[in-house]
């Protein structure tokens, strides 16, 4: 097993976890899948390094901090929110689960087609990172627009962010650490606030269905 095979397996892992996110209705399952995706994401920059000596301190620190934030703190926050609001499942999404997967397959094909247009001279470490990053972005967007519960939409937001991170990982040799850290901090704060907001919405209205929030009320 050489290094590039590991990198491919990890990128494939991200693609498959995206499909799992589309297919699952249980919120705990979704959060666990997010966690697996985050762990795969963190390992990608390390697996992409051509040799052990090419691993810089910056790269390893970036992976470790991402692992801590996305693989541990954010899932903990989300699980806390799930327990507080006492909602276990996403029932009746706008788009059904089977149909979501079919759309996902089409989206994957579209992402690969789009990445052809970027050409191979984009100085990418692996040719699969670009379509997979695009795919994560689109799946995140799809989850946000096709699901009802605010918590699932937060998970969609995180998936989109993972796509952005994957873009970063493709160019990690050039990208400054500061930008990555800034993005990570933004996400952390955003999810933190969303968690609190979801709890507030739930205690105010007894549900977290975002489509019902638009109804007027005295």
């Amino acid at each position: 097993m050489n290094n590039s095979l590991w990198a491919e397996i990890l990128v494939l892992g991200v693609v498959l976890t995206n499909f799992r996110l589309l297919a699952s209705s249980r919120l705990f399952g979704l959060i666990d899948t997010m966690q697996i995706q985050a762990i795969a994401l963190c390992a990608i920059p390390i697996a992409l390094a051509p040799s052990a000596s090419a691993l810089s301190f910056r790269l390893v620190m970036l992976a470790l901090i991402t692992l801590a934030v996305k693989g541990w703190i954010l899932p903990r926050l989300l699980k806390h929110a799930v327990q507080k609001t006492n909602i276990q499942r996403e029932i009746e999404p706008f788009v059904g689960y089977d149909f979501s997967i079919m759309v996902g397959i089409i989206l994957l094909g579209v992402c690969f087609l789009i990445s052809y247009r970027f050409g191979t001279d984009a100085n990418l470490s692996s040719h699969f990172l670009l379509p997979s990053a695009l795919f994560s972005l689109l799946i995140g967007l799809m989850i946000i627009i096709s699901r009802r519960k605010a918590l699932t939409q937060v998970i969609g937001y995180l998936t989109m962010e993972n796509g952005v991170y994957l873009f970063g990982a493709a160019l990690a040799i050039k990208e400054p650490l500061l930008v990555e850290m800034g993005v990570l901090l933004d996400v952390f704060v955003a999810v933190f606030i969303m968690g609190i907001t979801i709890y507030q919405i739930n205690s105010e209205f007894d549900h977290i269905d975002t489509d019902r929030l638009s109804e007027l009320k005295d």
């Binding site: 050489n2 590039s4 095979l5 491919e8 397996i9 494939l12 693609v15 498959l16 499909f19 297919a23 689960y97 089977d98 997967i101 079919m102 996902g104 397959i105 994957l108 094909g109 690969f112 040719h127 699969f128 379509p131």
Partner: protein, 304 residues
Amino acid sequence: MNPLFHILSWFSALILSPLLVGVINRTKAFYGGRKGQPLLQAYYDLFKLLHKGAVYSQTTSWIFRAAPIISLSVALTALLLIPVMGYRSVLSFRGDIIFLAYILGLMRFVIVLAALDTGSAFEGMGASREMQLSLLAEPIFLTCLAVLAAGTGQLDLSGMIKSLWSTSTSQTNAAVLLITGALIIVLLTENARIPVDDPTTHLELTMIHEVMILDYGGIDLAFIEYASALKLWTFSALLIGIAFPFRAGSPHIDLIIGIGGIFLIAVMIGIIESTMARLRLLRLPQMMIAAAALSLTAFIWVIK
């Protein structure tokens, strides 16, 4: 490749395939804390059935009588197509993947026709379910084979499996991992194993494969049982050839490794059967869509 190797591999399949059923049953018994039936029970059953005469319903036609013979001969032909661990199979030509997929389809087709031929509403229901599942499983199987063809640039099964893992790129190898997952689901579906169909049940609500062969007895039943054991062997041999990355280099040692791998797959099926419940009929398309997602992702991956 020397003829001795072909004879050995073909006859080991003929002799050992009913043992697969025994291994699956013993694994399930082990998980259930039981002693289980003898390992050779499938042989005893076949032997018993071969010594009995057949009884035919008056409403049936020649289709009903021809189906067991056709299904057994098709199973024997399919076996000739499968290369053992990447060594050239007896029947190997460009495009034999399509031939393989469709003779397996023919096997299902004759059994379904025979089930309809009995005129029993019960068997018609089983036939309809079988066709519904194969409608979903067959495209997945063909997509998996297409991934192999696109990934290795070969059009015959022997050439594909030979160049896998040795000369193929990491791109292809990653895709092969995906189609291994999809092929396991296809194997369970095609061979009527547990998440899809329960081979031990005789409850009308749950049967799929068993219900179609209810009217058979004696020699005909023995033919059908033996054909399905051979079909299980065919799929397992294909799966182990694709998924197992190491080759010893010597044909006969590889043959032993391959047969060991096939029995490992039988143990795996036993474990799946004892740890999973049978899925509801309505949930089955969901599982097939997951397998389709796996195989199509692999396809997109490999044609990039």
